[in-house]
Amino acid sequence: MELLNRAISGTMESSDIMVEIIPWDKDLEINLKSDVKEQYGKQIIALVKAILDENGVKKACINLKDKGALDFVISARVKTALYRAARRSQ
């Protein structure tokens, strides 16, 4: 998937996550801010990496502001942000 522009998805509501994707030429960088970073930080980053891998994204800056979202929410938000960044609807 080719990223064309910066994109965001999600909200800062409790149990949600705000995902920002910035296309760039450098290696992948994932910044996570989370209320549950101590307990679930590694799992969240692993999940996001897996989704990026699946979509062939290798160069991007991903900023995550997590408010305790469950895995399926994180997955949906990251995919939405990716599609928006790639200007694709499916």
Binding site: S15, D35, V36, E38, Q39, Y40, K67, G68, D71
Partner: protein, 483 residues
């Protein structure tokens, strides 16, 4: 020798000595505060408290070191107290609650000496039985006369009941009242009597009005909380607790607050009246009282302005002190008469132990409050909590810290089901014949973990940063420094 000796000396008019001092600075010199003394505050001004910082600032400037501070609790108003730890002013802290920035500071090991966490009843017991000696109590009072009679329901920044402060006033060596409403007119009725007060200082402001009443009380609209409250009311009804002259306490969490609303319906339907409602008094309880459904309110802490004005105006709204409320050594304590209490929890484990002091990251973010006191005293103690909060499971195999032992918790109501402590066969038997479905607490735990996933273990060091004292003075748990 005449048995009846006549003495006519020293019979003059009394020379009045004023207790009023111009400012705290001079008073602190007069009090000759020394290093390592114990000073106390109350937390009736909650997040709006200005007294704590006001006094600590001056003590810090005077270069005092190693004080024990012994507030009834600490709130966000004391977020920056870490600076007094760094300066050496604070050597030890005893409190009920610890949260925010200060909670993080303590959890990361800023204070050498472990914080002692006590319940409201436990703190009163420690004072009454002499475990803790308060050298000087600095007590903010919304209304005070020139002799020291003080109350909390009049003045510019009312807070209602001064229930926690009353114990300090009675037992502290020296008592200083700080007020922003000093009157010549006698302050009656009083919460703190003049004979307990040594000094009075008028200050610009004792608290930020809007923040005094913020925090604990809110109206409940969250459907999850309402669902839990409804289930709880159903459990209470099936256990046949709602009878004439029953008594109850609800905590300050959302579900717990909303239970009052459902109790009302149940009381009207059954045509019964409660004898009393206890504890932190909220507008919800005041409404029940003014409707005639609850005969008396016993108020150790008023949670909103409606409670404040009720305390002022309703003759059956009584202010009680923390020892009367929940002190295990007080033979008349009110929690021992409670039929039912509804409490919140940050975490509860499969042995029904409850944590209300540390968050899921092991950091201080709560308060012991009256939790363990009411759980032990009441006939039925119901803990209400959502199964998960965000990604955090509430029901766990083992809580990080125990404040209230599972042996005193009877029922857990979550949005995913009701669990009963196996040691309450009587409750299990009653509910089995009812519409309430009981679920094993281990199943609730499994359900929770399925939703959230397995969390990583918290990394602790072996340094103890907190001791959780049970209401009888024994240590029930230790809190460790978080890496």
């Amino acid at each position: 020798m005449d048995r009846y000796k006549i003495n006519f000396k020293d019979k003059g008019k009394i020379k009045r000595k004023s207790k009023v001092r111009k400012n705290i600075e001079n008073l602190i010199d007069e009090l000759e505060i020394k290093d390592a003394m114990t000073i106390s505050f109350h937390h009736h001004f909650r997040n709006g408290d200005l007294i704590g910082s006001m006094v600590m600032d001056i003590l810090d400037r005077k270069g005092i070191k190693n004080l024990t501070i012994f507030p009834s609790s600490l709130t966000s108003a004391h977020d920056d107290f870490g600076k007094y730890i760094k300066s050496g002013l604070i050597g030890k802290i005893c409190t009920s609650g610890l949260r925010g920035k200060l909670g993080q500071d303590i959890s990361s090991g800023l204070l050498e000496e472990p914080v002692v966490v006590r319940s409201h009843g436990g703190r009163a017991r420690a004072i009454v039985q002499g475990d803790e000696k308060i050298d000087i109590a600095f007590l903010g009072a919304p209304h005070c006369d020139v002799q020291g009679n003080a109350n909390g329901f009049e003045g510019n920044s009312p807070c209602g009941s001064l229930g926690y402060a009353k114990v300090d006033a009675k037992y502290a060596d020296k008592v200083v009242v700080l007020t922003d409403d000093l009157t010549e007119e006698i302050a009656m009725p009083y919460s703190i009597p003049a004979y307990d007060v040594d000094y009075i200082v008028e200050v610009d402001s004792i608290g930020i009005k809007e923040k005094i009443m913020s925090g604990a009380t809110r109206s409940v609209t969250n459907p999850k909380e309402l669902l839990i409250a409804k289930k709880t009311a159903q459990v209470i009804e099936e256990l046949n607790i709602v009878q004439n002259n029953f008594s109850f306490q609800t905590g300050s969490g959302g579900s717990s607050l909303a239970v009052a609303q459902f109790l009302r319906e149940s009381m009207i339907r059954k045509d019964v009246k409660a004898d009393f409602a206890l504890g932190g008094i909220t507008g919800h309880m005041v409404n029940l009282h003014e409707e005639g459904l609850v005969k008396k309110l016993l108020d150790v802490q008023s949670f909103d302005l409606s409670a404040v004005s009720s305390l002022k105006n309703n003759k059956n709204h009584f202010e009680i002190d923390a020892s009367f409320y929940a002190d295990i050594s007080n033979p008349g304590n009110a929690v021992n008469r409670l039929d039912v209490v509804i409490l919140s929890a940050l975490e509860i484990d499969t042995k029904f132990n409850v944590n209300v002091i540390t968050g899921s990251d092991g950091v201080f973010r709560g308060a012991s409050g009256g939790h363990s006191d009411t759980a032990a005293g009441s006939k039925v103690c119901i803990v209400v909590a959502p199964l998960v909060r965000g990604r955090i499971a509430t029901v766990k195999e083992k809580v990080l810290n125990i404040v209230t032992p599972g042996s005193t918790i009877d029922v857990l109501v979550t949005d995913h089901g009701v669990a009963v402590n196996p040691n309450r066969k009587d409750i299990i038997d009653k509910l089995k014949e009812s519409k309430v479905k009981i679920i094993d607490i281990n199943d609730l735990r499994e359900m929770a973990e399925k939703i959230t996933g397995k969390p990583e273990k918290i990394n602790y060091t072996d340094k103890v940063v907190g001791l959780i004292e049970y209401r009888d003075g024994s240590i029930i748990d230790k809190v460790y420094q978080v890496k």
